[in-house]
């Protein structure tokens, strides 16, 4: 057997690891690969850090290559190791922890460092950069105690950081040296539209300000400018640019200027040493955006594996700002110059601005604000240098959803063109996955290749590739979110058909609507079970085989197959007799763990399946529905009975609400809370419905969430009496039940539908009464599932019996 070549990669980031991924595909098992990374993480998607900062993603969500990936590909990974020496004669590298590895070929992908302005006071506590997971974590931590941040730099990174601070509840000033923000990507019109949009979100801009000095004692207290003015702040983030990280290369005698100089095959001046990504300088340019890095990586991988490749000849830049609520795209040349002509659309009502620059019948650049859906398509036309003399010029900016031009466009792209910039997925990868895996929807392509998984901007292109690859077989309607792989119909279409055709059973829905599978899947079965019950609350018979385990068993399954049991404790208020009983049950059944939950009740963990019904019987309490897509708890504070600040009986209100809505099935779990004053000790601001007592009434907050995506609730209504609290909650929950997608939490639902349209419905007396009526019907037919199981031997045998053969 031929000995495997030793490939070493310095830098465990997007550019380097992407290159390795390509190499593994082109020449599996040909290289013995070692990767060194300074950060204590596997390769993650740095461009999605702003989502981590904004709370939309967790660190795990943005990991591109898990530790398992390294392991299963036989890669030796040294995280937390910084390579300190390259010996280009012996062909070895050494890390700061003393690991020395020999290489046949070496890839340097050390990325870049944030540029820190050498201001007086820059060494004070509270001055930082924004580049790594660690920086993000620092910022999140800082936001817990600090009030105001100053971001120096009004470019892409600076604005994303500033938006993050707003999300974290801090005030923020953005300092920029020029008169317009993102001036390296946007023309003055788009730039000022962006500034206005961000100001509306709460950002404060200090433009044409040159920083002079950071003030404060040990810790930062503010920033002084050259013009003598100053700004207060207890955290300063410098986002003024990046510098290629070349110290190591320079010490090893590799040519730098200022990035590591590479040729069209990413070779440095030293044999067998390559550089890729932000640390590399190609034809005088060091790129700082992701798409060029992937383009470089593709060429380098082919070169190293000795696959024929066209040289890398540079990239056309494009960028999207990742700030929620603002869509900005810029690609290619964005400012007019002699010889260019522009097509512009500027709709000041809708806040949309689009400009396409054309030179010699070719699109050379575009700026989009407010609606960036054309971005990817225009970018392809720029890259392909499409001749547009035959086009209707204004049509270039009009949505071309069903237009066949799109497909012919993807047809012209080369196989290694990147379709998904976030995850570096090429046209070739997607097309071959479509063919070999038999994919037919965007969703399936996403699951199989990760294309469109992150920002979703390339979904239209993926759809075009499906049309191009499958031809007539591709059903464009499937692009809309179908309920699951068993049908091409969307949730709305299915509900319409259920109502119109008066369908009453899951089987019937699947037959009449021509499901592709006889019995559906784990996505559609529970969803249909919910929708059918929602539409026909009194007639529909619940199908326990279409419930997820927890809802079928009425207990939460744990990872070892045992269950947890949480009885109802209304409003979190209990008494000695109840507590004694719970304690006795825990002892009698040897329940290993008893824990207070976050919802003010008690959790009995580790109950065996065959013991469940007996435990419930012994408890003699209603089910707490802690397992269900249903009302969980109503958390309360002590309120006016005991609290010196309390203005209302929050415990009483909470108990009343919990009694009213217990056993209610909803699209996803619903948590509520009642606080007796605006100090909000019951955390009403982060509940699906939160109630806060104010002087002379109650405020109702909707769509809050304290889970994966923290979201503060929106004020839904202010009412005077307890009866009104119940009435408005009934209407709100029923409207949610009727319009949300199954499994959609209220936080996502409110975000999707908008709080104002929901308010309009709830505050309309006639609509509200209709909703309350329907809610009343739903609630009239619920029964306690634990009691039902205790009283019914067949349920006990079918669901809870375990057959033990001696």
């Amino acid at each position: 057997m031929v000995q495997m070549k030793k490939l070493v990669l310095i830098g465990n980031g997007m550019a380097g690891v992407n290159t390795v991924e390509h190499i593994l595909k082109l020449a599996p098992n040909k290289f013995d690969i070692t990767i060194f990374g300074t950060e204590p993480h596997p390769n993650y998607n740095r461009i999605l850090l702003s989502y981590v900062l904004s709370g939309d993603s967790s660190v795990n969500d943005i990991v591109i290559n898990s530790y398992e990936w390294y392991e299963s590909n036989g890669i030796t990974l040294y995280t937390d190791h910084t390579v300190t020496e390259i010996n280009t004669e012996q062909q070895t590298v050494t890390s700061n922890q003393g690991v020395c590895v020999a290489y046949d070929q070496l890839i340097i992908a050390t990325g870049s460092n944030p540029f820190m302005l050498p201001l007086p006071g820059a060494d004070k506590e509270g001055v930082m950069a924004y580049r790594t997971i660690q920086d993000c974590e620092k910022m999140i931590e800082a936001s817990k105690t600090l009030k105001k941040a100053i971001v120096i730099g009004g470019g892409l990174l600076g604005l994303e950081a500033a938006r993050g601070f707003l999300n974290l509840g801090m005030k923020v000033d953005v300092v920029h040296i020029c008169g317009s923000i993102m001036e390296r990507q946007l023309d003055p019109t788009a730039s000022s539209m962006l500034r206005e949009a961000l100001e509306a979100q709460g950002m404060n801009f200090l433009l044409e300000k040159q920083s002079a000095e950071i003030i404060g004692n040990e810790h930062v207290t503010g920033l002084k400018f050259k013009d003598g003015t100053k700004a207060d702040g207890d955290l300063i983030v410098m986002a003024v640019g990046i510098r290629p990280n070349v110290e190591l290369a320079k010490r090893a005698g590799i040519e730098v200027n200022p990035g590591i100089v590479v040729d069209d095959y990413l070779r440095t001046n030293i044999p067998n040493v390559y550089a890729v990504g932000e640390c590399a300088q190609h034809r005088g340019i060091a790129y700082g955006l992701v798409a060029p890095l992937y383009e470089q990586g593709a060429v380098l991988a082919k070169h190293i594996t000795e696959v024929e490749t066209a040289p890398y000849e540079g990239s056309i830049l494009y960028t999207k700002l990742k700030v929620s609520g603002v869509d900005v795209f810029s690609g290619g040349q964005f400012m007019e110059s002699p010889g260019t002509k522009a097509i512009r659309i500027h709709d000041e009502f809708a806040g949309i601005y689009k400009k396409v620059l054309i030179k010699e019948n070719k699109i050379i650049g575009a700026v989009l604000f407010g609606d960036t859906s054309d971005g990817t398509r225009l970018m392809q036309m720029i890259r392909n240098q499409t001749d547009i003399s035959g086009y209707d010029k204004t049509a270039l900016l009009i949505e071309t959803g069903g237009n066949t031009n799109d497909s012919s466009n993807v047809a012209e792209m080369t196989d290694d063109s990147i379709i998904c910039g976030c995850n570096g997925v090429s046209k070739g990868t997607i097309c071959s996955a479509i063919k070999t895996q038999g994919l037919s929807t965007v969703e399936e392509v996403k699951n199989c290749t990760t294309a469109s998984r992150s920002c979703g901007g390339c979904k239209p292109l993926v759809s075009d590739l499906l049309a191009y690859t499958l031809g007539d077989q591709y059903d464009k309607t499937a692009v809309k979110e179908s309920m699951c792989g068993c049908t091409t119909l969307s949730r709305d279409e299915i509900l319409e058909q259920i109502r119109e055709k008066e369908l009453l059973h899951i089987r019937e829905v699947m037959n009449v609507l021509e499901w592709k599978t006889a019995e559906g899947c784990s996505k559609c079965r529970p969803a249909l079970n919910y929708y059918l019950a929602m539409i026909n609350p009194t007639e529909y018979v619940d199908d326990s085989t279409s419930r997820f385990v927890n809802e079928r068993m009425h207990a939460n399954i744990q990872k070892d197959g045992t269950y947890s049991v949480i009885p109802r404790i209304y409003g979190g208020v209990t008494n000695p007799a109840e507590l004694k009983r719970i304690a006795e049950v825990a002892e009698k059944f040897n329940i290993p763990t008893v824990k207070f939950t976050g919802g003010q009740r008690l959790d009995l963990l580790g109950v065996k399946k065959e013991d469940l019904t007996q435990v419930w019987e012994a408890l003699d309490m209603p089910s707490g529905y802690a397992y269900g897509k249903a009302l969980r708890t109503v958390k309360t504070c002590v309120g006016q009975d005991y609290c010196r600040f309390g203005t209302a009986d929050s415990m009483g209100m909470g108990i009343r609400m919990e009694k009213r809505f217990e056993r209610l099935n909803t699209p996803a779990k619903v948590k509520m809370a009642v606080s007796g004053c605006p100090r909000n000790c019951a955390e009403s601001g982060i509940k699906d419905l939160g109630v806060v007592a104010i002087d002379g009434g109650w405020e109702l907050y909707a769509g809050g969430n304290g889970g994966v995506k923290i979201r503060a609730g929106d004020l839904l209504a202010t009412v005077k009496t307890e009866d009104e609290v119940i009435e408005y909650t009934e209407a709100y929950l029923q409207y949610y039940r009727e319009t949300a997608i199954y499994l959609e939490r209220t936080s996502d639902w409110v975000k999707r539908v908008g709080i104002q349209p929901i308010r309009d419905v709830i505050l309309d007396a006639e609509k509200r009464i209709g909703l309350c009526d329907r809610m009343n019907t739903v609630l009239s037919v619920t029964t306690d599932p634990w009691k039902e199981a205790i009283d019914n031997e067949k349920i006990q045998k079918d669901l809870y019996e375990v057959i033990e053969i001696k």
């Binding site: 559906g520 899947c521 399954i557 057959i803």
Partner: protein, 114 residues
């Protein structure tokens, strides 16, 4: 009672009519745990009651046609072959099942006695 063959033991576990349709039944025998399913077409299937991914109990999964979805992380497993369906990989052990005079028998192998 048990029926014995040269290489395996057929163990009586339940009465056919009493098994619920599309709801798995947990069966324990000599340290082995099996998920037994009666499908809507009346066929019986038995597989090892642990998902190869993270040990989810398969008896509690949603059953659709010839597949069960693991209740832990939604791995889709074919009941006839025990194969985990793409894009995931892996497989679980399958057991032979038969019905004789209304009684359900599962074939356990002797090797499991050790």
């Amino acid at each position: 009672m048990s029926l014995q063959t040269a290489t395996a033991i057929w163990v009586e576990v339940a009465s056919y009519d009493e098994l619920p349709v599309n709801t798995g039944k947990t069966v324990r025998y000599q340290g082995q745990e099996v998920a037994l399913f009666k499908l809507s077409n009346g066929n019986l299937k038995a597989i090892e009651n642990r998902c190869p991914h993270k040990n989810g109990v398969l008896a509690e999964g949603i059953v659709c046609d010839d597949h069960v979805f693991c209740p832990m992380h939604d791995r889709k497993i074919q009941l006839s072959t025990g194969l985990v369906q793409a894009p995931d990989t892996g497989c679980v052990k399958t057991y032979n099942v038969t019905v004789k005079e209304g009684k359900v028998y599962i074939e356990f192998t002797k090797a499991t006695f050790s």
